[in-house]
């Protein structure tokens, strides 16, 4: 127990926790949206994230010819490079997510299989994707060159906010608000919410079920892809099983907030990111994963439906 570290490092930990938390928020949006519609843990979401990180690395190295020795870029070029990486990552993840649904889930769903059958299919997809990438990369971690020079935006009493963290927090917040607006305000969002309330009834109301489900996977994939891009700007390295820990944490975050509930994923992700940072400062980083689960178990003991589970009936995505 090292309380003095938490005291003296309170604000730096807060910033790190928020940056990590927003990555969790976006990945857990991928889990929670699919869960809301299909009542299915999309185990392949961690691999969708992994493919996004590789897309970012590939675009920055092969399209823009960055390598380990090149200088970080700046000005207009920097904006273009970052935008291209972001779009590539989002597009890859979005397309993969839609294909995963088509290949692994649709047939099972139309056959009316039980949920565990779909779960195993999802696990199989996840193994296939990560193993495929492992074989292609020979299990070697791929480092992404530094595109964005990591300067401090401001520094007060030794507490600084780095540009990549600011970028992650700001764009994470923006994207989450965009998804939330889409789901609550638009016509397609309404269709998604209708399907999550009752598949049968929404079919009777003339909603094209397959299209709505594909759309849900697409949005989940796009957001997960954005998270993958942010992960790469902050941590600058990826490997074939990078999705495992992130996916596990993001899924935990979704459950923490009440799975199927979009805003629950937001609070759950932030809470988990902060908890991870503070607890690993307090107890040592080797206990990080345990504290995540202990927090989860304790929360579920008090509120068996997650922090925001009460409102699930009304606000399911």
């Amino acid at each position: 127990m090292n309380f003095s570290v938490v005291g003296s490092q309170f604000f730096p930990l807060l910033i790190n926790g928020l940056a990590l938390g927003f990555i969790y928020v976006l990945v857990s949006v991928g889990y929670t949206m699919v869960y809301g519609v299909l009542r299915l843990i999309n185990f392949a979401n961690s691999e969708i994230f992994m493919l996004g990180t590789f897309a970012t690395a590939i675009v920055s190295t092969s399209v823009f010819k960055f390598n380990q020795n090149s200088q970080p870029s700046h000005g207009m070029k920097l904006v273009i490079v970052l935008l291209c990486c972001l779009l590539a990552s989002m597009a890859t993840s979005g397309v993969v997510a839609v294909f995963v649904e088509l290949i692994a889930y649709r047939r099972l769903r139309t056959k009316g299989a039980n949920r565990l059958g779909s779960l195993i299919s999802a696990i199989g997809t996840s193994i296939t994707l990560s193993e495929g990438v492992r074989i292609l990369t020979h299990s070697i971690p791929v480092a992404s060159p530094r595109v964005l020079s990591k300067f401090y935006v401001f520094k007060i009493h030794g507490v600084g906010l780095r540009i990549d963290q600011l970028l992650t927090i700001a764009s994470g917040l923006l994207l989450f608000i965009a998804v939330d607006r889409f789901v609550t305000k638009t016509r397609m969002g309404k269709a998604i919410r209708a399907v999550s309330m009752s598949e049968e009834n929404s079919k009777l109301m003339g909603i094209n079920l397959n299209r709505v489900i594909s759309l849900t996977f697409l949005i989940g994939g796009l957001v997960t892809g954005a998270a993958a891009f942010m992960y790469m700007t902050v941590y600058e390295q990826t490997v074939f099983n990078v999705g495992f820990n992130i996916g596990l944490a993001a899924f935990t975050a979704a459950v923490l907030g009440g799975i199927g509930n979009l805003r629950g994923a937001f609070y759950g992700g932030l809470a988990l990111g902060l908890a991870e940072e503070y607890f690993s400062a307090l107890l040592g980083s080797q206990w990080k994963e345990i504290t995540v689960f202990v927090v989860l178990v304790l929360v579920l003991l008090v509120k068996p439906n997650g922090l925001f589970g009460e409102a699930v009936q009304q606000t399911r995505v």
Binding site: I41, I120, G124, S126, I127, E131, I259, E289, F293, V297
Partner: protein, 367 residues
Amino acid sequence: MINLRDKGAELWDGANRLQRTAFALVAIFAALCLPYAGNFSLTNFLNTPISSYEAVLVYPVGMYILMALGLNIVVGKSGLLDLGYVAFFAIGAYTAAILGTHTHLNTWEILPIGMGFAMLAGVLLGLPTLRLRGDYLAIVTLGFGEIVRILAINTPSIGGPNGIAGVPQPPTVLGQAFDITHPDHFFWLVVIMILAVIWMVRRLSIRRPGRAWEAIRQDEDVALLMGVPILRYKIWSFSIGAAVGGAAGVIFASEQMFVAPQSFNYNVSVLILSCVVFGGMGNIWGVVLGASILSYLPERIRFISNAREFVFGLALVVMMNIRPEGLLPRKKREHLSDEERAALKATRAALNASKKASKKAEKEASK
């Protein structure tokens, strides 16, 4: 696609006691002979290319069948999704390793202790968490599995990440030595344990706990309203499943003579769950078949060692798409009275007759 499960059940129902006993004895004998199958030209296609075939039969094949049968009680019989089953396996294995290296207890004496510890862990985990439903339970059990593994890594007194070496092997029984040169003896031991578990599950299924689990699986609320003490039977299901996992862990530790945290990661839980669902949840024979295939297949295709996990993943996706209920799904109706069975037979016959008639009519029409 034909339903092998129903076909098999029909044959079994039609057989008399003598035929059943004879079939069971032949099947058990065939299973016990499996370690020698690699030596005959007729059956040597079973040989695994890189690892020793006899050793593969013990771990992973035998162990996975045992654990899948244990998990089947939790997932298949009572419908509780457990993603951290490996924790009980780990508890059994570490109990065997710690007691085996620090005390003079032998494996047979440790076996009930390991099962007891696993059961205790099952009850302790179950009491607070079994009130949760579906996927919440899944994530908490997943977390429990990870907690056990990380605790093992971070506790230096039980070897930390290096694990514990020199776990004693079981003492000789009836002149059969259990050591590294006799994997077949370990295999027989595992087969006997599997038979014991199958016997236990079959007895439990037709008695009160089995009916309670079935009710809970089908509809928890209705079961509660009908007066089934849900929490008690869920905990029973959890702890019996845990005890089987613990037993598998004890035997695993004394067979490998070594335990380390990396043997107990989340992938093992997922693999065992895959065995259960792949084979056919809730049906013992389906689970045995599923576990045999999924544990044996990666060893058999080791010659494509780099891509074997990839092929394994693909096989899971393809198989689940072809047979969503698993290879040998459970019978749709569990308990039929004689009249019901007769009625079902009559309906089937009538259905077949009408199908034939309509086909005939079609043929004539096309002529």
